[in-house]
């Protein structure tokens, strides 16, 4: 059994154990299993050969027909699996006390989700990918529907309706692809050239599904509701990992497999991304609910990811990938920050708080760090991603870069406005005064998140190096289709003469 299968099996088995064990035991089983999985992830990172083979840790077994059990990862998948394995134990810890109802089932759902999400990133067979991709919704659906807030059923329903919508089209597209190329092997499909006109339809079908998952404007409205109703750890994993499945689909399938269509339709993505940045940032500015605010900010960040991907160059793609990782850590951290004070006061309404810097100074420091990482302060993970992707976008179109970059102003406005209302100001309300600073368990969650956010900002090479060749591969696939940017330099006559 390979390490990837092990990483699928451990949480899956632990999930069954949890569902049938008592509440107290379930917590420890879940924590243990996720920690072991994280350790395995680190082992895999160590074993991963940078500049080595494109696909590593490959496992293959024929099941029936053309369907095969095929796992394997490249650098991008490695990073996203690591992100998942890193966040999971933190999510379990975040739920330690907040969840008191049916703990076994809850922990089981999280473990199941971990197995499924790792499957999504590790699958090398199209059908296998599809099964994981759709199955990831089910535990999330339960988490929102059972342990969610007062309006959880509406949110779960919306989540269900939206995400189901596009997936049928994607499945049909996949079947067409398999029949055309004669294989469902993703590594083979990556090098297969589909006819240009077919690419167009396949691209649209994938887009219908992935745009919802991202989520892109205008199919983003399920996200704020899902976040608001989900329990803290549910939000952490939804923002941290599930949203990344959409952008992973873009970079794994749509761009390298349908390069011509991607080039033809890039402006669809650009326009929707530009709208999303401005539109959702402005909406975030007027929110009274902390989780809604952060949810809308996620849509804005994901829009920079899509625009960065469709810049079709090394910086744009690497930047988008770093945002995916950074946002995975930082938005999870921000949702946890909300969870910390929600656990104490049981409200997400911003105006109920104020002055927390006085009685929760350690909390205030962490919240500030993650706020800064979210608005892309240099030295934090957010900056590296934003800077690289915007630079990439600029190479493709200075106009798109300008519009997307307004997000750095609006982002600063809504995040600092949030921080100001929650953490600054005077302590006036008695129940807020009674709130206590972080406990040991909360420290244990905050510290690793903060460390990674800074590490990725100061020395991102650790994360960029494994992905470099894979990004180069995608860029190469797109090279012929890529249009020239609008910011090209025209040399003056003198230099042109010298050059000749």
């Amino acid at each position: 059994m390979g390490i990837l299968s092990l990483m699928l099996a451990i949480p899956a088995i632990a999930a069954i154990l949890c569902i049938f064990s008592g509440d107290r035991l379930a917590r420890f089983v879940a924590l243990g299993a996720t920690l072991v999985n994280f350790a395995l992830g680190l082992v895999m990172w160590r074993g991963f050969e940078v500049n080595g083979a494109q696909w590593q840790f490959v496992e293959r077994a024929d099941l029936f027909g053309r369907f095969q059990y095929a796992l394997g990862i490249d650098g991008m998948a490695l990073m996203l699996i690591l992100l998942t394995a890193f966040l999971m134990p933190l999510c379990i810890l975040a739920s330690w006390q907040a969840i008191q109802k049916r703990v076994g089932l809850y922990m089981g759902m999280f473990l199941l989700m971990e197995a499924i999400v790792i499957g999504v990133f590790a699958a090398q067979d199209l059908i296998l990918f599809y099964i994981f991709f759709e199955a990831a919704l089910i535990p999330m659906y339960f988490i929102i529907g059972i342990w969610g807030g007062d309006n959880r059923k509406y949110a779960a329903f919306k989540f269900f309706l939206y995400t189901l919508l596009g997936s049928v089209l994607m499945l049909i597209a996949m079947i067409v692809m398999i029949n055309t190329a004669g294989t469902s092997d993703i590594t083979a499909l990556l090098n297969y050239d589909f006819p240009t006109n077919m690419q167009f339809w396949l691209w649209l079908a994938f887009f219908a599904s992935l745009a919802v998952k991202m989520p892109m404007f205008p199919v983003h409205t399920w996200l704020p509701d899902a976040h608001v109703q989900a329990p803290t750890a549910g939000s952490m994993i939804l923002a941290g990992v599930l949203l990344k499945m959409g952008s992973y689909g873009f970079i794994r399938f749509m761009m390298p497999m349908f390069p011509d269509a991607s080039a033809d339709l890039m402006w669809v993505v650009f326009i929707l991304s530009m709208i999303a940045v401005v539109y959702t940032s402005l909406i975030a500015l007027v929110q009274n609910d902390m989780k809604k605010l952060i949810a809308y900010s996620s849509v804005a960040h994901m829009a920079i990811v899509t625009a960065g991907l469709f810049a079709f160059n090394q910086q744009g793609l690497e930047g988008a990938l770093v945002i995916m990782l950074s946002h995975g850590v930082v938005s999870a951290a921000l949702f946890f920050c909300v969870g910390v004070i929600y656990d104490r006061l049981h409200t997400r309404e911003i105006s109920r708080y104020g002055g927390l810097a006085i009685n929760m100074p350690a909390y205030a420091v962490f919240f500030l760090l993650f706020t800064m990482a979210s608005i892309g302060l240099p030295g934090t993970s957010g900056f590296v991603g934003e800077f690289l992707s915007l630079l990439g976008i600029y190479e493709a179109s200075s106009f798109v870069a300008l519009i997307c970059a307004t997000g750095i102003i609006l982002g600063a406005a809504y995040m600092l406005y949030l921080y100001r209302r929650v953490v600054f100001g005077d302590l006036t309300k008695d129940d807020v005064k009674a709130m206590t600073d972080l406990n040991a368990r909360e420290w244990a969650i905050m510290v690793p998140l903060a460390a990674v956010a800074l590490w990725m900002g100061i020395y991102p090479e650790s994360f960029l190096a494994p992905m470099r060749d894979d990004v180069a591969f995608v860029v190469e696939r797109l090279a012929d289709a890529k249009p020239a940017g609008d910011a090209q330099l025209a040399a003056p006559a003198v230099i042109a003469g010298v050059a000749q």
């Binding site: 059908i127 089910i138 329903f157 930047g319 302060l377 800077f387 690289l388 960029l464 230099i495």
Partner: protein
């Protein structure tokens, strides 16, 4: 050594900020202050070695940062003349401000946090000036922005301080957007973000064009203007200046360090650092000149009408930054840096002096309630006097002058010598010098001369009440005018303690002698060329011409300074009823100036309010009213031919749907496999 200079403040900030529970308050203060004094002590020999001509430029690589395709940049520390000048300015002022804060902040319960922020700021500023690539400069740029945000909002219980902090950060982000786009465009043109490589290739790019927002424009103009937008934000130039006066909400030592001596000059530093780029972009230089001159004029006019002592100095800073920019705009980068250098001393002095006054006057900042303080706080008075003599540029040509005399006159002469737009800038600068003299002396006269007007001050009333009257009965008495009515309300201001006075004395020495001692290397043609050694585009010919301007050009600044002094003396000492009569006669003009040309009101109307209105509109009409209504909610009601299914769906059992979802998934996959594979 440079590593120690840069990273000691960071280390101290981390230890004090994160560890003050362990090591205690005094240790935190000692560590941060000590680190800064070491950094300052290490910086001066470097600077002096460049003055002597023995200094060697160099770059130290600390750590790889980002490598993406052909884009690559590292954490690097660069030293050359330009950096050395900034090192002494930053570390000296920062060390003195640390020391000053021991007393000034002594009653604050959060001192370790304050000192940690100060040191953190210093670190970020040092990273900015030692940057060898544009991205690290941007790191420092935003890092000082963060520290500035934290320090403006240091008293976070005050809503006005929080608002000011946020405003500073967001307005600066507008500038940073320009800076960032500038870096992108620069990378696209030069294929690198390394500053030396860019500067080397810049001259050859003159005349080329680049696409920008669908237009085809001159390459170097686009790059320089984008970068300059960043400089405008950080250095509070007209249009992006609105945050600086509000930043005075922060503690006064912060105003001295960040909003006078160092951070706000980062824009000037950037233009000088990139001066070979700007030299290849004449249009951009014209814009720099015009913006600088406009800011110089605007801020000086507003400064004449403000009541708050710190706001007067803040507008003064804004105006002086305008001088530096138009100096750079006409190509006199050496003169711009020289004014930056001297300004750091005398403006930090003025702010710390103002802090000493505020300290003596029990937190009262309104100059209308000052008066007659000369006798009570003589050392502060003389220190402020030195600062005022320096900023107004007092000096006798060819004999001796205070610091501002050399640097400001250097700028004006260079502007005159440059001709063209420079002539315009010269006359604007002359007029602004008149206003500078007027508002600076106004400040001195209102604060230190005349009769005490303290009894109208609420702060003083509180102080008197706290000192002498403990019960409610006597409190009523305190408000009744005293029979002798000497205006003091029985209050006795005290001179500040030693840790505050020592920095004032040291900075006074700088304000008196910095110009006299250093003017040769900074702005003389031959000596300047040797001193700057290519670290900025030093124009020896222009500086030569500047020294050869007609005599009347050299004497005009002195004349307008004298006129400003006379005007102030006449209005505030000889005949104190003049200001009120002036205001009554020219009410619209006074209102216009007093309300800062209505920039805040305008921005509120065209940016802030519409942003919130649009946000609400998009949310209620867009997301809820359109997307959801037509999307999920719509689907549910259409399918059932009414809202009943929607209701049932929304209230039904969770398991039901999950089961349906699972069945659907399994069904779809099975069907697909059987049918197609």
């Amino acid at each position: 050594m440079i590593q120690a200079i840069v990273f000691l403040p960071l280390l101290a900030a981390l230890v004090a900020g994160l560890g003050h529970h362990v090591i205690g308050k005094t240790a935190s203060k000692m560590i941060t202050t000590g680190a800064l004094f070491i950094s300052a002590a290490l910086s001066w020999p470097i600077f002096l070695s460049f003055i002597n001509g023995t200094g060697e430029a160099g770059v130290v690589t600390v750590l790889q940062w980002v490598q993406s395709g052909t884009l690559s940049f590292n954490w690097e520390l660069k030293i050359d003349t330009l950096t050395a000048v900034m090192l002494v300015v930053i570390n000296t002022v920062s060390a003195l401000v640390h020391l000053y804060s021991w007393s000034y902040m002594s009653e604050d319960p959060h001192q370790p946090r304050f000192f940690a922020y100060l040191s953190l700021f210093t670190f970020a500023m040092l990273m900015l000036v030692t940057a060898n690539n544009l991205v690290q400069m941007f790191f420092g740029w935003e890092g000082v922005g963060l520290a500035s945000y934290l320090l403006i909002g240091f008293w976070y219980k005050k809503q006005s301080a929080n608002a000011a902090a946020m405003k500073a950060f967001v307005v600066n982000r507008v500038g940073d957007l320009g800076f960032m786009l500038g870096i992108f465009a620069t990378f696209l043109v030069f294929g690198t973000v390394s500053i030396p490589e860019i500067l080397e290739a810049a001259p050859a790019m003159a005349g080329s064009t680049i696409g920008f927002l669908g237009l085809r424009l001159d390459t170097m103009t686009v790059l320089c203007l984008l970068l300059f937008i960043g400089a405008m934000g950080k250095s509070a130039q007209l249009g992006l200046h609105t945050w600086l006066p509000d930043a005075m909400e922060g503690p006064t030592p912060v105003s001295a360090l960040i909003h006078a001596a160092t951070m706000v000059t980062a824009g000037v530093f950037m233009v000088c650092r990139l001066s070979p780029m700007f030299e290849a972009a004449p249009v951009a230089l014209s814009v720099v000149t015009v913006v600088g001159a406009a800011t110089c004029f605007f801020a000086a006019t507003v400064g004449t009408t403000q009541h708050d002592i710190k706001r007067v100095i803040a507008y003064s800073t804004c105006s002086q930054l305008g001088y530096m920019f138009f100096a750079a705009g006409v190509g006199a980068y050496g003169a711009a840096m020289f004014h930056l250098f001297t300004h750091a001393f005398f403006k930090a002095l003025l702010f710390l002096g103002a802090g000493s006054v505020i300290h003596a006057m029990h937190h009262e900042q309104d100059m209308r309630y000052y008066g007659g303080l000369r006798k009570h706080i003589p050392l502060t008075y003389w220190a402020m006097m030195m600062g005022t003599l320096a900023i107004t540029g007092v000096g006798i040509y060819g004999v001796f002058g205070f610091a501002g005399f050399y640097s400001k006159d250097g700028i004006l002469e260079a502007a005159f010598a440059a001709g063209g737009l420079g002539t315009m800038a010269f006359w604007v600068g002359i007029f602004a010098a008149l206003l500078t003299s007027f508002y600076s002396w106004r400040l001195v006269f209102l604060t230190f001369h005349g009769k005490p007007r303290w009894e109208q001050s609420e702060h003083i009333q509180h102080a008197v009440h706290d000192e002498h009257h403990d019960d409610a009965h006597d409190y009523a008495h305190a408000h009744a005018p005293k029979a002798d009515s000497d205006g003091t309300a029985g209050y006795h201001p005290h001179e500040s303690p030693l840790p505050m006075l020592v920095p004032l004395v040291i900075l006074s020495i700088g304000a008196v002698f910095a110009g006299f001692i250093f003017n040769h290397p900074f702005i003389y043609p031959e000596e300047g060329t040797a001193f700057w050694a290519g670290s900025l585009a030093y124009n020896a010919e222009l500086m030569h011409a500047a020294h050869e301007v007609p005599m009347w050009v050299k004497w005009t600044p002195f004349a307008v300074m004298a006129i400003g002094l006379l005007l102030a003396w006449n209005s505030y000492i000889r005949n104190p009823s003049i200001p009120a009569r002036f205001v009554a006669t020219f009410r619209p003009l006074h209102q216009f100036l007093f309300n800062k040309w209505y920039f805040d009101e305008l921005y509120d109307k065209i940016f802030v309010k519409p942003a919130f209105a649009l946000g609400r509109f998009f949310w209620q009409r867009g997301d809820v009213g359109t997307i959801d209504a037509l999307g999920p909610n719509g689907v549910a009601s259409v399918v059932s031919g009414g809202s009943r299914l929607a209701v049932r769906l929304q209230s039904g059992y969770v398991y039901g749907y999950a089961f349906v979802m699972l069945l659907g998934l399994v069904g779809l996959v099975t069907w697909a496999m059987v049918k197609f594979l």
